[in-house]
């Protein structure tokens, strides 16, 4: 009976854990997961009500045989716990405490809710806790496939909010809060000792393995967390990304990337070929405009008049057939683009380079020009002409509305 009595004072510490968990559920930000181990421990140990009495410890009620088995394992765990506590592994000590708790929970059904609560609390302190130890322990104690599925699920979500919500539901449906620990996908490399017998020797092996891979498990945990948070931001980008499963999420991502790449390919094949032919002519016009613009006001005004003529022509053609209008424009060395882009380009290029007027006809389906007519289905053809920059470096853009043509 000695180990059990020795365990009791350690068990007392679990009560604040339970209370912490309850507060956790009320306000999510109560527990700071990024606090160091020491803070976490201080937090816990500071609020120790010695309510050993309130804590149900029905060893007496338990059937003797399973208790006997469990006693051996718990004895082992308790010894390990003391070792850990001595050797500065405070966090691990806590986790071993939990293991002890759960070993009790295994034997005794009455402990269902507290053990569940404990397990849930285990989910909470995410940062740097090697829940792997518990994960391995649970794996041994419970159904493997259920464990793995849940573990993957939890491992993928990874955040506190997620894992504390989801496993709760699953937990209470199970006999003794199952493998709700987020990290159970222990790298198989360290799982060599996992095979073999069920029950007590397996537990002993698992605990030892958890100790040995301590830094690895922490690194693994960190890595998983980073992956999970990046996946979350990826989820917002990709449509249809409400999948919780990592594999299906990856599938969606792949499909979306393929789709976007295909779109680019198709768009480059469209009649943009005409636009491509257009752009080399732009410098020619710009050079002409430069020559003109360097002159007097009349020159620039004549330049404007030239544009007006073109605009009217384009407008007329647009009324008949958009395609012919486009071809006319392209023949002139102009292209249509949304006005916002055009103004942006012109302002930036005007600032950087002098004598660089851009002449282009802009098309903005949202803008409604002088005609007081329809709103959305109309296309306004706008001509944007940025005048040449004079020697003193001033740049101006003049907008000219032509008319609005309703879309066929």
């Amino acid at each position: 009976m000695q180990p059990t009595s020795g365990e009791l004072p350690e068990m007392n510490n679990l009560n604040p854990l339970v209370s912490l968990h309850d507060s956790q559920m009320s306000k999510s930000s109560h527990f700071d997961p990024t606090s160091s181990h020491d803070d976490f421990l201080d937090q816990m140990f500071s609020s120790v009500p010695s309510s050993a009495s309130s804590f149900p410890w029905p060893e007496d009620h338990a059937p003797p045989q399973p208790c006997h088995l469990e006693d051996q394992s718990t004895a082992l765990l308790a010894s390990k716990l003391r070792q850990q506590q001595i050797s500065n592994g405070a966090a691990k000590a806590l986790l071993l405490q939990h293991e002890l708790m759960l070993s009790r929970g295994l034997a005794v059904n009455d402990l269902r809710s507290p053990s569940g609560a404990d397990i849930e609390f285990l989910n909470v302190p995410h940062a740097d806790q090697d829940d792997v130890v518990d994960g391995s322990y649970y794996k041994s104690a419970n159904l493997d496939h259920e464990a793995s599925v849940k573990a993957l699920f939890n491992g993928f979500t990874g955040s506190i909010g997620h894992s504390s919500n989801q496993p709760q539901h699953l937990l209470h449906s199970q006999k003794f809060g199952g493998p709700a620990v987020p990290e159970m996908n222990q790298p198989a490399a360290s799982g060599t000792s996992g095979g073999g017998t069920a029950g007590q020797p397996k537990q002993r092996v698992r605990a030892r393995r958890g100790q040995a891979t301590d830094p690895h498990s922490i690194a693994e945990r960190l890595r998983r967390e980073r992956i999970a948070e990046r996946m979350k931001s990826l989820q917002e980008l990709v449509p249809n990304a409400n999948k919780t499963d990592k594999a299906s999420m990856l599938d969606e991502i792949i499909d979306y990337v393929k789709f976007l790449q295909l779109q680019v390919k198709v768009l480059s094949m469209s009649r943009l070929g005409g636009a491509a032919a257009v752009s080399p002519l732009v410098p020619d016009i710009s050079s002409e405009g430069g020559r003109n613009g360097n002159g007097t006001q009349t020159a620039s005004s004549s330049n404007n008049d030239g544009m007006t003529v073109t605009e009217h022509q384009v407008a007329k053609l647009m009324e008949e057939d958009m395609g012919s209008a486009m071809q006319y424009l392209q023949g002139k060395g102009l292209c249509l683009m949304p006005i916002s882009l055009a103004t942006a380009i012109s302002t930036t290029t005007c600032r950087t380079r002098s004598h660089h007027p851009l002449a282009s006809a802009s098309n903005n389906p949202l803008l409604n020009s002088e005609a007081a007519g329809p709103t959305s289905p109309s296309i306004s053809a706008l001509t944007v002409q940025s005048a040449t920059i004079a020697a003193n470096g001033g740049g101006e853009t003049s907008l000219k509305d032509v008319n609005s043509v309703s879309k066929p």
């Binding site: 990856l250 991502i253 792949i254 990337v257 790449q261 094949m269 486009m326 292209c335």
Partner: protein, 187 residues
């Protein structure tokens, strides 16, 4: 809202770069086939979107380096990105190291496969296999993705998707203007 502002500046920069690249193709006449045109346009667009990142991301560097492997694209790259096309030496080294990494990865995989002999194929193993194969597929899709670890792969994928969306949006607007068969759609 901030994202939208970032996005619009991205779009503008992409359009600028793209037009710069398109201006080089003065040899477009009636005889250039659609295929040639398509390749030229796509090339300009890809280099344009990659240079909006200013070599801060791996996919952009990989894209530009792949394009510069073909010597004829050198002027294009220089014009668009405004800086020297990357010299072959540095990328040869990178490719060498990539090969070495690939070899080590392959041997590691072979060793791993020999070591682990699962007696029972649980759901977890299937899941892991799925995840692995899909990660590999994603690596093939993202330019330069073959040698990234999982964390940076996801980060690069995010950036790549954003850039692709910008590309599609701008090209789509241009195309809807040039060819009214494609209805104008704003993302």
């Amino acid at each position: 809202m901030k994202e939208r502002m970032q996005n619009s500046s991205l779009k503008q920069e992409f359009l600028k770069n793209w037009i710069k690249g398109l201006q080089l193709h003065t040899n477009f006449n009636k005889n250039t086939t659609i295929l040639e045109r398509r390749k030229a346009i796509k090339l300009s667009a890809d280099i344009a979107i990659a240079s909006t990142r200013n070599s801060t991301t791996r996919w952009s560097r990989a894209l530009i380096s792949d394009a510069s492997r073909d010597g004829s694209n050198k002027t294009l790259i220089e014009k668009i990105s405004g800086r020297e096309a990357p010299r072959k030496d540095s990328f040869g080294l990178i490719r060498c190291s990539k090969k070495i990494m690939k070899r080590s990865r392959v041997t590691r995989q072979i060793r791993a496969r020999k070591a682990v002999l699962p007696s029972v194929v649980g759901a977890s193993l299937i899941e892991k296999k799925l995840v692995k194969s899909r990660t590999r597929a994603l690596k093939r899709l993202v330019p330069g993705g073959e040698d990234m670890d999982e964390i940076s792969l996801i980060k690069e994928t995010i950036d790549y998707i954003v850039s692709l969306r910008v590309q599609v949006d701008v090209m789509g607007r241009m195309a809807s203007v040039a060819d009214r068969l494609i209805p104008f759609k704003s993302l």
